[in-house]
C-alpha cells in the first residue's frame, strides 16, 4: 500500500528525518512512536509533500508520489490529519466538511456527506452551523478526521489524534479506528500515548533522532517495557 524508501528531510541545514524506510500493508495500522522532537510529524509532512527539502521514494499503490503536486495525493486516496487539526477559521463546521469534497473530481452529494459525517461523529450534528474553531479540542479533532474521510481515502495519516483531548472522546475515537480495520482502511498512527496506540496497531515503529530504532509487531513492543520507557516517554 505505502512503501517508504530512504526518506530524508531537512529544515534548513538540520537533517531531521534521516533515511527512514518502512512498509504499510493494505488494512494495516502502523503506529509510529517516539519522543517529542524525534521527527514523526516531519515524516508525515514529507510523505504529504509539505517539506521542501526532502529525498527518497514514497510509493503509494506502486507509484512514486514524491514529486507529485501536493493535492494529487488526496485524489489518489491518501488523506492526512495534521497535528494541529487545521480547522479553517471563519468557516462553519459544515463548510469545513464541504472543503473535504469541493476539490474532488467526482462531486459528492453535500447532504449525504454531511449525514455520514454526523453518523460517525454525532457530536458534530448540533454544531454544523457553528464556526469550526469554536468547537472544543476533541470536537475539532473529530471534525478534522471527518473532513479527511469525505474523500473515502484508502489510507489515512493521523498525527497525535488523542493529544489534549478528554478521555471519553479518545475512547470514541479509538472505537472508530478499530472499525476502520474491519473496513480495510490503512492507517499510520503517530501517537504519544503508547498503550493506546498499541491497542489498535498491527506494527509499531519507534523513531529517535530521525531514524527508526525499533520495528516490529505491536505485540513485540507491548512486551518490551524497556524499549517503551527508554524511547517513548515524553
Amino acid at each position: 500500500m505505502l512503501s517508504l524508501k530512504d526518506i530524508n528531510a531537512w529544515y534548513g541545514l538540520s537533517h531531521v528525518v534521516q533515511g527512514i524506510s518502512l512498509d504499510v500493508r493494505p488494512g494495516e495500522v502502523a503506529a509510529i512512536l517516539g519522543r517529542n522532537g524525534a521527527g514523526k510529524t516531519t515524516l508525515l509532512r514529507t510523505i504529504m509533500g509539505l517539506i521542501d527539502r526532502r529525498s527518497g521514494i514514497v510509493e503509494f499503490d506502486g507509484t512514486d508520489i514524491m514529486q507529485m503536486p501536493i493535492h494529487e495525493r488526496y485524489h489518489r486516496g491518501l488523506a492526512y490529519v495534521p497535528e494541529d487539526r487545521r480547522i479553517v477559521p471563519g468557516l462553519s463546521v459544515r463548510e469545513n466538511l464541504r472543503l473535504g469534497f469541493v476539490g474532488l473530481r467526482a462531486k459528492a452529494e453535500e447532504e449525504a456527506v454531511i449525514a455520514e459525517a454526523c453518523e460517525t461523529f454525532p457530536r458534530l450534528r448540533q454544531r454544523l452551523d457553528q464556526e469550526g474553531v469554536t468547537l472544543s479540542g476533541g470536537e475539532q479533532q473529530m471534525l478534522a478526521i471527518a473532513r479527511a474521510l469525505v474523500a473515502k481515502p484508502r489510507m489515512i495519516l493521523l498525527d497525535e489524534p488523542s493529544e489534549g483531548i478528554m478521555p471519553v472522546l479518545i475512547d470514541e475515537m479509538y472505537e472508530l479506528f478499530k472499525r476502520w480495520k474491519q473496513q480495510g482502511l490503512s492507517v499510520i498512527l503517530v501517537e504519544q500515548d503508547v498503550e493506546r496506540a498499541l491497542e489498535v496497531a498491527d506494527r509499531a515503529y519507534i523513531v529517535d533522532q530521525g531514524r527508526i530504532i525499533f520495528a516490529g509487531t505491536a505485540k513485540m513492543l507491548l512486551n518490551d517495557r524497556e524499549m517503551q520507557e527508554r524511547y517513548c516517554s515524553v
Partner: protein, 289 residues
C-alpha cells in the same frame, strides 16, 4: 445644507471607484499575500482598453463587459508567468516585480497611444442629471453607485454561496490544508489575480468619463487604493467597501471647503485610523471576509 448633501452623494460615487479598486487590491493581498504595486497600471490599462473597444464598437455596454475580461486575462498571464515563480520567497520580491511592471505598462501605453490623454465623453445613455431631492447629480454618478452595489452583491454571492468561493475563503486563511484536501490552489491564485486586476481595469474604464484617459492616471489611484486597504484593514473585503466610501466622501467634502486639501485629506484620514486602530477598521491578521 443641500450643497453638503449633494457633495456627499458625489463622494459616494467617487468612493465607488475607490471601493472597486481597493477590493481588487485587498482580494489579491488577502489570498496571495502579494502587494500588487501594478494595480494602478491595470486600472490605467483598463481605461485604454475600454476607450479602444468603444471606439471600435461604439457600444458602451459591450465595452463594459470586455474591459474586465481583457484586463483579467492580462492579469492572469502576469500571475502565471511572472509572479508564480516568486511564491514562497520574501514578500518584497513580488512587490518589486509588480512595481517594475507598472513602469513597463505605462511605457508601453505611452509608446502606443502617446503621452496626451484621450478624452472620453459620458456615454449617451448615461448623460443628464437626476434630482435626488436635495439637488441634481449627474446620472452617471448614480450609475457608478448602482454598478458598484451590483458588483458587491455578485462578489458576496460568489464568495459565500459557491464552492469556488468557499475555496477562496479557505485558501486565504490556510492554503496548506486546502492543498492537503485535494485542491490545486495555484489555479485559485491565478483566478483571484485575474479577478482583482480585471475589476481594477473596469474601474479604470468607469473613471474615463470623469477624467481623461492618460498614461499616468493609475499613479494617484494606486496611492488611493492603498489608503483604502490600509484604512479598511489589509485583506478585509468589508473593510475595503466601508473605507472606499469613506475616502470618497472625505475627498469630496474636503474639496467643498478646502479644495487644496482634498488630495492630502485621505492621507490624514489614514494617519488618524492607523493611530487609533493600527490593523485598520476591519483588519484581522490574514483575514478575509
Amino acid at each position: 445644507m443641500d450643497l453638503l448633501l449633494t457633495q456627499l452623494a458625489t463622494g459616494l460615487a467617487l468612493g465607488s471607484i475607490y471601493v472597486i479598486v481597493g477590493l481588487g487590491l485587498s482580494l489579491i493581498f488577502g489570498m496571495l499575500h502579494v502587494v500588487n504595486f501594478a494595480h494602478g497600471a491595470f486600472f490605467m490599462v483598463g481605461g485604454y482598453v475600454g476607450v479602444f473597444v468603444f471606439a471600435k464598437t461604439g457600444n458602451f455596454w459591450f465595452s463594459l463587459v470586455a474591459v474586465p475580461l481583457v484586463v483579467g486575462v492580462i492579469g492572469m498571464a502576469v500571475e502565471r508567468v511572472l509572479i508564480r515563480p516568486l511564491y514562497g520567497r520574501n514578500i518584497d520580491d513580488p512587490l518589486l516585480l509588480t512595481f517594475g511592471l507598472s513602469y513597463i505598462f505605462v511605457e508601453v501605453i505611452r509608446i502606443t497611444f502617446g503621452l496626451e490623454g484621450i478624452p472620453f465623453g459620458t456615454p449617451r445613455e448615461l448623460r443628464g442629471a437626476v434630482d435626488i431631492g436635495v439637488g441634481f447629480i449627474p446620472l452617471y454618478r448614480i450609475f457608478l453607485v448602482a454598478l458598484t452595489a451590483a458588483i458587491l452583491i455578485a462578489l458576496w454571492l460568489f464568495l459565500e454561496k459557491t464552492s469556488y468561493g468557499l475555496i477562496v475563503r479557505a485558501g486565504a486563511r490556510d492554503p496548506e490544508i486546502v492543498r492537503v484536501l485535494g485542491i490545486d490552489i495555484s489555479r485559485v491564485w491565478l483566478f483571484v489575480f485575474g479577478l482583482g486586476t480585471g475589476i481594477a481595469g473596469l474601474a479604470g474604464f468607469l473613471s474615463a468619463p470623469i477624467q481623461s484617459v492618460n498614461p499616468d492616471m493609475g499613479v494617484p489611484v494606486l496611492a488611493e487604493a492603498f489608503v483604502v486597504t490600509v484604512v479598511g484593514g489589509m485583506g478585509s473585503l468589508v473593510g475595503s467597501v466601508v473605507a472606499g466610501l469613506l475616502v470618497g466622501v472625505v475627498v469630496s467634502i474636503t474639496s467643498l471647503f478646502a479644495p487644496d486639501m482634498a488630495r492630502v485629506s485621505i492621507f490624514i484620514l489614514m494617519a488618524v485610523v492607523l493611530l487609533v486602530r493600527p490593523q485598520g477598521l476591519f483588519g484581522r491578521k490574514g483575514a478575509m471576509g
